[in-house]
């Protein structure tokens, strides 16, 4: 079973839920927040790099190139500029679609690999896979995509999604059996939750909501969920103890025993 833990708004406790749920159920965690992976800060597994992630980029053979501009005209990302006797290529704009090589009639384009990220793996009591996007790279989705190839459907796979409602978050939840949307009971939390709900509904994925830091803010998130018939799976109260454990990178199911049971029940409920 694949469960994605997502949240429209960042910093509302997505990784906390993913990690605690994984520890309570013995699931494998996939940290798909490849821009800022945090799950292993709580798991402290010794990670090994297992793969590099590459994007295919064009390499131009200026001896064969006639500077006809066909490639630049095709490229919808404006990654190629053709000068009278030179080519400028902007790798950070290139999607790696390979179209320029296909349109080139003069066989002047080959493809080369450019590294944009890495995949890590490690295991102690918990098994974790993690993607990491290189600094300065814009495209997180190819890293997420490659990371997701390791997802084992037979066991319990928990995907820690990146925050927001953009393409990296959507790429992560694609193909999941269930999505847990984590939010906080504030106007910001509610606003971003509504967008996230629109998305999971559009993709027809069963989902439920966890309200973290319950007790701060107001009751508008609860009212919204009740009004929309959305199940509130769990409420995690705001507590200084939980916040402090979080700041130190300690998953709170390890220190507060009754929570382990609650996370097991959570899994039973969504299974």
């Amino acid at each position: 079973m694949i469960i994605t833990v997502a949240s429209g708004k960042g910093g509302v406790g997505k990784t906390t839920v993913a990690v605690n749920l994984a520890i309570a159920t013995g699931a494998t965690i996939y940290d798909c927040d490849v821009e800022e992976p945090n799950a292993n800060i709580f798991l402290k597994v010794n990670l090994q790099k297992i793969e590099d992630v590459f994007l295919m980029n064009p390499v131009f053979d200026l001896n064969k190139c006639t500077f006809c501009r066909e490639c630049a005209e095709f490229c919808r990302y404006h990654a190629i500029a053709v000068l009278p006797s030179d080519i400028l290529f902007f790798p950070e704009l290139c999607s790696g679609c390979g179209g320029c090589k296909i349109v080139c009639k003069h066989d002047a384009i080959e493809e080369g690999k450019r590294k944009i990220g890495e995949i890590y793996h490690g295991k102690n009591e918990i098994e974790i896979y993690q993607g990491l996007l290189n600094i300065g790279e814009a495209r997180a989705t190819p890293v997420i995509n490659q990371l997701k190839k390791h997802v084992d459907k037979k066991g319990i796979a928990i995907l820690d999604a990146p925050p927001g409602n953009g393409c990296p978050a959507i790429e992560t939840m694609h193909g999941s059996d269930f999505v847990i949307l984590v939010t906080e009971p504030t106007p910001f939390g509610l606003h971003d939750l509504k967008i996230a709900v629109d998305i999971v509904r559009k993709f027809n994925i069963p989902f439920g909501v966890i309200i973290n830091r319950y007790g701060i803010g107001d009751d508008s998130v609860e009212k919204y969920c009740n009004g929309e018939g959305i199940e509130i799976l769990m409420k995690i109260p705001y507590s200084r103890e939980i916040a402090e454990l979080y700041s130190k990178g300690i998953p709170f199911v390890k220190e507060i025993k009754e929570w382990r049971k609650k996370f097991v029940e959570l899994y039973e409920a969504i299974k």
């Binding site: 429209g8 708004k9 960042g10 910093g11 509302v12 990784t15 927040d33 821009e35 800022e36 945090n38 800060i41 709580f42 919808r76 990302y77 950070e92 999607s95 790696g96 679609c97 390979g98 179209g99 296909i102 349109v103 996007l133 600094i135 300065g136 814009a138 495209r139 997180a140 995509n145 990146p162 925050p163 927001g164 409602n165 953009g166 393409c167 990296p168 978050a169 959507i170 790429e171 694609h174 906080e184 504030t186 106007p187 910001f188 606003h191 971003d192 967008i195 629109d198 998305i199 559009k202 993709f203 701060i216 803010g217 107001d218 916040a243 402090e244 979080y246 700041s247 130190k248 990178g249």
Partner: protein
């Protein structure tokens, strides 16, 4: 004209609350570039003057009647967006390769509206923000459009400052928010996760040659970690422009749709001090 971006790497460190408070302290054009989850408008309460549709990447469409099911498009698409001779729209990057390889011209690239740029007035002045239609792609380009609009307005209204609320992360919309700015204010939080993320966003700022300073929010939830941030910054010559305590009044103000300067006198004084430092830094440049 100067541009300041407020970023954090990790989400939820209080970036938007801090940007909202700056709105009370300076005359600038404000922008929210967190286009897939914008929040600043909830405090600034904009009166929208103009809503500009944004067309991002096109998306492939296969004409069922003309398709001969040869599979050429499926093989050529590097993004796995075509399955069973159908396009999965949210995976399509709009590259146009399928259209190029289709032997019977059964594929067309369709334009579509991916989101909107809102130009608005608020009780603090001009505000530009982007909003992506849920599930749509290409947020980096929408960010660029928001910034371009903000620039036009600043020029027209003779304002010499733009303040940008950036999204979380370090990828495409963050790079689009950060590149070409004069100063990045990084909002950190004394937790292990936030420190890790702060280090990554500082590297991104350095990569794009944007000067960065750090502001520590909720510094008293773990003073030991706060010391670590201070040490890290000192070693690298990064200035810490302020430390904000954890205070429920930030959430209370948010619930009331106000910024903290409007809501609490004491915290307002602190925010003024922090803003003063930011102002000094950009006028030095």
């Amino acid at each position: 004209m100067k541009q300041i971006v407020v970023a954090s790497g990790k989400g939820g460190t209080g970036k938007t609350s801090i940007v909202a408070s700056f709105a009370s302290l300076t005359k600038a054009v404000f922008t929210d570039c967190d286009v897939d989850a914008p929040n600043l408008h909830l405090i600034l309460k904009p009166e929208i003057i103009e809503k500009i549709p944004y067309e991002g990447m096109e998306v492939a469409e296969i004409n069922e009647e003309e398709c001969i099911k040869c599979g050429a498009c499926q093989k050529a698409c590097r993004f796995g967006a075509i399955e069973n001779f159908m396009v999965t729209e949210e995976k399509c990057e709009g590259c146009g390769v399928c259209m190029l390889v289709c032997p019977v011209n059964a594929i067309e690239m369709k334009k579509r509206v991916n989101g909107y740029v809102h130009v608005a007035n608020t009780r603090f002045g001009e505000f530009v923000y982007g909003l992506l239609i849920p599930g749509e792609e290409a947020s980096g380009k929408l960010v660029a459009l928001v910034r371009q609009k903000a620039k036009e307005i600043a020029e027209r209204k003779d304002k010499n400052l733009i303040i940008i609320d950036a999204p979380a992360g370090i990828g495409c919309p963050v790079i689009a928010s950060l590149s070409g700015t004069d100063l990045a204010v990084i909002i950190a939080e004394p937790t292990m996760a936030a420190i890790h993320d702060m280090e990554r966003i500082l590297e991104v700022a350095e990569h794009f040659k944007v000067k960065a300073v750090v502001c520590i929010n909720k510094y008293d939830i773990n003073e030991e970690m706060t010391k670590k941030i201070e040490e890290y910054c000192r070693e690298r010559g990064i200035e810490i422009i302020g430390k904000i305590p954890f205070n429920r009044k930030f959430t209370e103000a948010m619930v009331k749709g106000k910024n903290i300067v409007e809501y609490d006198k004491e915290l307002a004084d602190l925010m003024k001090e922090i803003w003063k430092k930011v102002e000094d830094m950009i006028s030095q440049k």
